[in-house]
């Protein structure tokens, strides 16, 4: 084979190696970020907000009890709020992101709410002043509105502990650890190397064959040159949206009206999370197309210079 043929073969091998490496590293780096966007928006965040809703509903329920007095009629609104708490916990259970431990926590909390409701009902039925005071006291102790940090026998401290665990999961999902830094740094280096190799090959072909441009190789350059920055930009947007969402839920929302607003903000920030995540498959396809275009562009030239053995 002539020098040109060997040079073309060498360049093809280099381009295919760089193309495959860039594609694979980009694929895993992209998945590393986007695999967590959907769980964060559809499970972790709603789960945390549901716990906040349950907490607020129970605090409201107990405020209704306190405001009504033993002779007041509090049953409807109290039961509505307790029902809200139960529904929120059911949502938390359906979005459970912390596995068996989380499910057990929810079972305990539900049991404690039943105990709390039982004491409140007894308080409502009791005529004896001292006993009704005691029942309300027991209800308050089980609810734990004023429990000290570190206790774990009441509803509120259990809810707080559950929220902390959920938040840990959400923080892991929204994190950008060193592995992702390494992955995206590798993507940047490989991308630049691939782009330079493609442009240099284009320049080589123009000088050697006196053709202004090799269209197929140009198309491969365009796929790489545009695809990687676009995916990088999407990833950067997604990462920012995840960090912003996490900031919104990191501190417990004490205002019941604030929870739907936070939920809307998270929802709109991560509205495209599903679409972004679905693009990971296109990374492989895009890489394959770029490599196919490269082969398609260089192979006819290589065959022209191929050495053939005498028959």
């Amino acid at each position: 084979m002539s020098t040109t043929g060997r040079e073309l073969t060498r360049r093809l091998r280099l381009l295919l190696t760089l193309g495959a490496a860039t594609t694979l590293v980009l694929f895993f780096a992209y998945r590393g970020v986007h695999d967590d966007t959907v769980p964060l928006s559809s499970s972790s965040t709603p789960g945390i907000l549901a716990v906040d809703t349950a907490r607020n509903a129970l605090a409201t329920a107990h405020r209704i009890v306190g405001d009504s007095g033993p002779e007041g009629d509090m049953s409807d609104e109290f039961h509505t709020q307790v029902s809200v708490a139960h529904q929120s916990l059911a949502l938390t259970a359906s979005e459970n992101v912390i596995g068996v431990e989380g499910r057990h926590d929810l079972q305990t909390i539900t049991g404690l709410i039943a105990v709390y409701s039982g004491w409140v009902e007894r308080w409502g039925r009791e005529d004896h002043q001292a006993l009704s005071t005691a029942y309300l006291h027991y209800a308050e102790r089980v609810l734990g509105l004023e429990s000290e940090p570190g206790t774990d026998g009441d509803v509120m401290s259990r809810l707080d502990a559950l929220r902390d665990k959920q938040l840990d999961v959400a923080e892991r999902q929204a994190a950008f650890p060193w592995q992702l830094w390494l992955g995206w740094s590798a993507v940047a280096v490989l991308y630049l190397a691939l782009l330079l190799a493609l442009l240099d090959t284009q320049r080589f072909l123009r000088r050697r064959f006196r053709r202004p441009v090799q269209v197929r190789l140009l198309a491969a350059t365009a796929v790489c040159g545009l695809g990687v920055p676009v995916l990088g930009r999407i990833t950067w947007t997604a990462q920012r949206a995840m960090s912003g969402s996490l900031d919104g839920i990191r501190v417990r929302e004490k205002d019941p009206d604030g929870i739907p607003k936070t939920a809307d903000q998270v929802q709109s920030a991560l509205a495209d999370a599903g679409f972004w995540a679905s693009l990971s498959g296109w990374v492989l396809l895009g890489g394959a197309v770029a490599m196919a275009l490269t082969v398609w562009g260089l192979w006819p030239r290589i065959t022209e210079y191929r050495w053939r053995a005498p028959r």
């Binding site: 068996v100 431990e101 057990h104 926590d105 079972q107 305990t108 539900t110 049991g111 404690l112 039943a114 105990v115 004896h128 001292a130 006993l131 005071t133 005691a134 006291h137 027991y138 102790r141 089980v142 570190g150 206790t151 774990d152 026998g153 009441d154």
Partner: protein
């Protein structure tokens, strides 16, 4: 010497890589869990930490079985809900056999026969029970932790019947979250045990003696007089936590779990028979309690955990009822004495906390009744009649026969 050909070198490298990967995967497999078991109990806080450190972690290390522990302060409610939902934990630890007997009768519990030697436990701790629909008698629970009651803690001068008769001397707290009222039930039970003796006590605990029986009524009345039922301090006791600070020249009727508190205050204990008025000839029996492990899902991992809990090597929390277990050399004299009584080494009669042997509805009503009695002692007769309506006859070994 021949040079290594590139192809041979490549194959050699690939083999080495495969070998390394195999060793790595093998090591990971050996270090990984070989199964899991879910455990529901009511220990939380420091108690949970100690149980995890001394029992669960050694078990996990030894058998490579992951124990998913759930500590719940609403144990009965959680377990009842789990049962109804068909999603119970593999193993649960509950206080008292009354609730467990109901689950066993419903066919929810798996027999533990063959998993441990029931001969190492007194019949009150691990009895053989007959359950409808199942042949023969089976053991359904294993004591994991036991406690001694019938204790009156004091510091300073040793109390007597006379000196203990002043209600002001007694520390009294009824608040305990979901189970508020249990310290009062302990009082009534213990007085009945000391006044009427173990036989009457066992009959009453099993529903064979009416709540309106004079002996039972007398126990209630005695308690009311001792703690000043109907007075302001008794009313305050309703909202006082059962574990609140109590020291000085005061007295406290509480179990062995308060030993640390009173030892720190330089206190000691006497048997409650020394301060209960009108004790009978059979006075001196000890009321005891315990946390019992049950098997709900008979997986091999759950069976292994039961075997481990019954073994003499498990560092169970105070105090083990296993008569084959060696005494803990790190315990002080009081703890050793308590452990010996619980294991029957002092040949004294021990009787289960009666409310723990009663069905759940009965136990809850009993707790409610003591709360009302404290502030409204005149309602006693009506309350006893109400309790009698809930009474169900059963056949559990309540007292030991030493």
């Amino acid at each position: 010497m021949r040079r290594l050909r590139p192809r041979t070198a490549g194959i050699l490298c690939a083999c080495l890589v495969l070998l390394g990967a195999g060793v790595f995967a093998g090591a990971r497999w050996a270090q990984g869990w070989k199964g899991s078991v879910t455990l529901l109990a009511n220990w939380s806080g420091e108690e949970r930490d100690q149980f995890e450190e001394n029992v669960i972690e050694p078990f996990e290390r030894k058998y490579r079985i992951d124990v998913v522990y759930q500590g719940s302060s609403a144990l009965s409610q959680v377990l009842a809900a789990d049962m109804v939902a068909g999603n119970p934990p593999d193993v649960a630890v509950l206080p008292g056999p009354g609730e467990l007997l109901a689950y066993a009768v419903d066919g929810r519990l798996q027999p533990l026969d063959g998993l441990f030697d029931a001969g190492h436990y007194d019949r009150i701790w691990a009895p053989e029970v007959t359950v409808p629909g199942r042949e023969g008698r089976n053991t359904y629970w294993l004591p994991v932790k036991t406690g001694l009651k019938s204790m009156v803690w004091y510091s300073g001068e040793r109390p007597t019947v006379e000196s203990a008769g002043d209600p002001e001397r007694w520390c009294l707290g009824m608040e305990s979250g979901a189970t508020s009222g249990w310290p009062g039930t302990d009082w009534v039970e213990d007085i009945l045990l000391q006044q009427a003796g173990p036989q009457v006590y066992e009959k009453w605990a099993n529903g064979g003696l009416d709540w309106t029986h004079p002996a039972v009524r007398k126990a209630w009345m005695t308690w009311g007089e001792l703690v000043g039922a109907g007075e302001g301090r008794a009313v305050r006791a309703l909202t006082t936590g059962y574990g609140e600070d109590c020291a000085g020249r005061r007295l406290e009727h509480q179990g062995s779990f308060r030993a640390g508190h009173w030892r720190a205050a330089g206190g000691d204990y006497v048997h409650s028979s020394e301060i209960v008025p009108d004790t009978g000839p059979d006075a001196g029996a000890w009321e005891v309690s315990g946390d019992l492990a049950i098997l709900l899902n008979p997986t091999e991992e759950a069976r292994q955990l039961i075997r481990y809990l019954a073994g003499t090597g498990a560092a169970l929390p105070d105090h083990s009822a296993n008569e084959a277990a060696a005494p803990d050399s790190a315990q002080d004299a009081t703890q050793k004495e308590i452990g010996d009584i619980l294991r029957g080494r002092q040949k004294e009669t021990r009787c289960w906390d009666a409310s723990d042997t009663m069905p759940r509805a009965m136990r809850d009503a009993f707790q409610q009744a003591v709360l009302r009695f404290l502030v409204e002692p005149a309602s006693l007769e009506a309350q006893l009649k109400e309790l009698q309506k809930l009474s169900v006859e059963q056949s559990l070994p309540v007292c030991s026969r030493d």
